[in-house]
């Protein structure tokens, strides 16, 4: 059955996977994987001796364990690896207890801290992770260990999922939200609520008042950025600040958070070549923990 009135899903982001061709799993001593089942996105990272080899990012379905299987299965495609080849697998994220092939689960806060330390190096001290349904501000030490953290997980306020809902409402493709939000000549007053439900109502009201889509999205993105900045300020923003999670790709958020806090985040490394994806920081950290745990088990 075809449906000619099928609606374009503006919130739908690009799912992707990649295998680095110049690496050979047969030569690896330790093969580990990190699977981060978030509320909105599922990420899998395969590491050979602690170096990223293959990765995938896809949308989490209605079932956490299925999503975990699919994400890792997709990352394993074209690698010749089977589940038996893995020495250790760590599950993390919102659905971490439902990663069936994982040897153990670790909280995403520890994994994001570890992952950020790996991606940007030991100078990183403040990590803002903007997830699908929560925002975390994490302070880390030079070893990637969590010093303290604050989390807003009361609702989807000011998170990736909220951004998806607004993108869909305003009919702006999710990838373009940041750019469009920065196209306004003057920064509008932020929407008064970042709660998805109220913000949606407020956005509709602003459109009726004659606001342009650009102005409305700018008002929403600004409100999100203010909210995130407040969270970072509560844990204390130190130098070498980074943003992880899907919203790290939203330049509208990044730009505004930087301006509000008066700091520049460290640049995102070349993802295509290295696999160092800020959205997969949790899965990267999990794969690193998997390696450390496997090595520890050998020494016991």
């Amino acid at each position: 059955m075809t449906n000619n009135n099928e609606k374009t899903e503006y919130w739908r982001w690009l799912e992707y996977k990649k295998v680095r061709p110049n690496m050979d799993p047969k030569k690896a001593k330790i093969i580990t994987a990190g699977v981060d089942v978030g509320s909105v996105g599922s990420k899998a990272v395969i590491m050979l001796d602690g170096e990223i080899y293959a990765w995938s990012v896809m949308r989490t379905g209605s079932n956490s364990s299925d999503s975990a299987k699919k994400a890792l299965g997709w990352a394993m495609e074209d690698t010749g690896l089977t589940l038996d080849d893995f020495h250790y697998i760590v599950g993390t994220g919102y659905g971490r207890v439902n990663v069936p092939m994982a040897n153990r689960a670790i909280t995403e806060i520890a994994c994001h801290a570890k992952g950020a330390n790996y991606i940007w190096g030991p100078t990183v001290r403040t990590v803002l992770d903007v997830g699908g349904q929560d925002v975390k501000a994490i302070k880390v030490d030079q070893n990637g260990k969590v010093v303290s953290f604050l989390m807003n997980d009361k609702c989807a306020a000011g998170t990736g999922r909220g951004m998806e809902v607004i993108a869909d409402l305003l009919k702006i493709p999710i990838e373009d939200v940041g750019k469009v939000s920065l196209s306004v000549t003057e920064e509008p007053k932020p929407v008064s609520s970042t709660c998805v439900v109220f913000a949606k109502t407020e956005a509709v009201g602003l459109l009726r008042k004659g606001w342009t889509k650009e102005k409305v999205i700018a008002a929403y993105v600004r409100a999100m950025a203010i909210r995130m900045s407040e969270l970072i300020e509560k844990v204390g923003c130190e130098k070498d600040f980074v943003i992880t999670g899907g919203q790290s790709k939203n330049i509208g958020i990044v730009d505004r958070v930087e301006k509000i806090l008066g700091v520049k985040r460290l640049p995102v490394p070349n993802l295509e070549e290295t696999g160092l994806d800020p959205a997969s920081a949790g899965a990267i950290g999990a794969a690193l923990f998997a390696k450390a745990l496997y090595e520890k088990s050998l020494n016991q």
Binding site: K145, L150, D153, K234, F289, L293
Partner: protein, 78 residues
């Protein structure tokens, strides 16, 4: 709660009149260690749970009970 400073003595748990704390296994330095943590029930309303202990004076019984200085109150009273 600074899980690394926690020595699993459970003093804070016994001192909390609201029963807002419990021991939980936490992954620290590649090991599972039992540490004090806020219960799931109180986690999202801890500000209200703790308000009866007058946090503006920063003398919550749990903070007083903790010899390791592992507990601190981060919010500012308006």
């Amino acid at each position: 709660m600074d899980a690394e400073k926690c020595n699993s003595c459970e003093e804070c748990i016994n001192s909390c009149p609201q029963n807002a704390l419990q021991m939980e296994e936490m992954f620290i330095d590649l090991e599972d260690k039992p540490v004090a943590a806020i219960t799931e029930e109180h986690r999202k309303k801890i500000r209200y749970t703790c308000s009866s202990c007058k946090p503006e004076e920063n003398k919550l019984p749990c903070i007083e009970a903790c010899k390791q200085n592992a507990i601190s109150c981060i919010w500012k009273q308006k």
